[in-house]
Symmetry: C2
């Protein structure tokens, strides 16, 4: 085998390794979010502590993938679609890391609510539905990244509206509880922040979907409405 | 002049141009935040509309700088510190764009609060102090980026604690108001989200400061405590 062929093969191996690591990081973040929401709902403080302790794994993966990407750019000087992939990865892991932070925050709120003396003044709000929507968006964003599937990515952009609507429903419910019984205010505010963290997870999943479209179509679709993207970027090719 | 020298000079011109554009974007974001907070405080709905309308400029700058960076990587194949600069820029503009989004959110809250029938049920909370702290962090983060000044960057990491504390003070104040008069709840929640947006602006400024340290020291200091950074990264050199 010639040196050039060997170099190209080595490059593909490196790219594939870094892609796999992104998916590993995404899977870990997904798990962290699910566990944090479960800890909040089941008042499982051990699980909450576990989520808080595991956040450093997410962070370590981000730093390590970042280093891999810098190495690949410096050594392999990728062009065109390979370079787009690397840049999409650098952006994706920033969003994944911030999702991990949101999971950690939810776990901290679980501890705050379930160990506080104010617990008797908490009115239950079900965050599991909206959390499921957000985790599902993340799962499909990772899937669309793995398979470079812009149809799935487009669907995620549309679904973000459902998470936002669900969040506003929870907000209205919490405001009603607080008005009916002001003693619930402190813990309702904690639950509100937890709901807000979930809504932000949906936003991050949407960002990843936009990077996938950028990656496949070579067009930056951030700051563009779903309708415009459908018309200009995706539709003509399907 | 040889072709190589010419190429090197052209590369420096491109790098300098993209650095200048980042500072321009930062200045615009700073202005947007200040105007949004003023609109909220002075009930200036025209100013709020102006902030909302201007957000697309921030977004356009992000997309344009991103394209410049991709071009430079593909065409100039930068190595070592130049590559670190490009990667730091790609990350910095993501944070700047999100700060712009937070400014837009504050402007929307200003409109919501000051046009709502619930206005009579609003108890005033002064967000200007915490906003000033956050904007000041951003200004110094841009300054440390422009002058590659890790001392300023380190100070920003320390100052983020003040913004967080200030946010918690506002939260306590708002909870007191809500408990005293439940009719203030709806608008207090809007003010709480505005305060949260400001706190997040401080977090983004801190991220930029971390990229500056990464850029100058070649070491990734995210997920590292201020004390550790001082000991391991910055101190030995000053």
């Amino acid at each position: 085998m010639s040196t050039t062929l060997h170099t190209i093969k080595q490059f593909d191996v490196e790219l594939e390794a870094v892609r796999a690591k992104v998916l590993e990081m995404g899977g870990l973040v997904e798990e962290q979010i699910e566990k944090a929401v479960e800890a909040l709902h089941e008042a499982d403080l051990t699980l909450a502590d576990h989520v808080i302790a595991e956040d450093h794994h997410v962070n370590a993966l981000e730093v390590s993938i970042d280093e891999n990407c810098t190495y690949i750019i410096a050594r392999r000087q990728p062009a065109a679609s390979d370079l787009r992939l690397i840049i999409a990865i650098i952006k994706t892991i920033t969003d994944l890391e911030r999702m991990g932070d949101e999971a950690e925050k939810i776990a901290r709120m679980a501890k705050m609510i379930h160990t506080s003396e104010r617990l008797m003044h908490t009115r239950p709000v079900d965050l599991r539905h909206v959390a499921q929507l957000a985790v599902d968006m993340l799962r499909r964003a990772l899937d669309s990244f793995a398979r470079l599937d812009t149809n799935t990515a487009m669907q995620i952009l549309r679904d973000d509206v459902d998470v936002d609507e669900s969040f506003r429903g929870i907000l209205r419910q919490l405001i009603t509880f607080m008005m009916e019984d002001p003693r619930t205010i402190s813990n309702s505010i904690e639950l509100l922040f937890a709901a807000k963290a979930i809504e932000r997870i949906g936003d991050h999943a949407k960002n990843i979907a936009e990077y996938v479209i950028f990656l496949v179509k070579g067009k930056d679709v951030r700051h563009t409405s779903v309708e415009e993207i459908e018309k200009e970027v995706v539709a003509p090719l399907f």
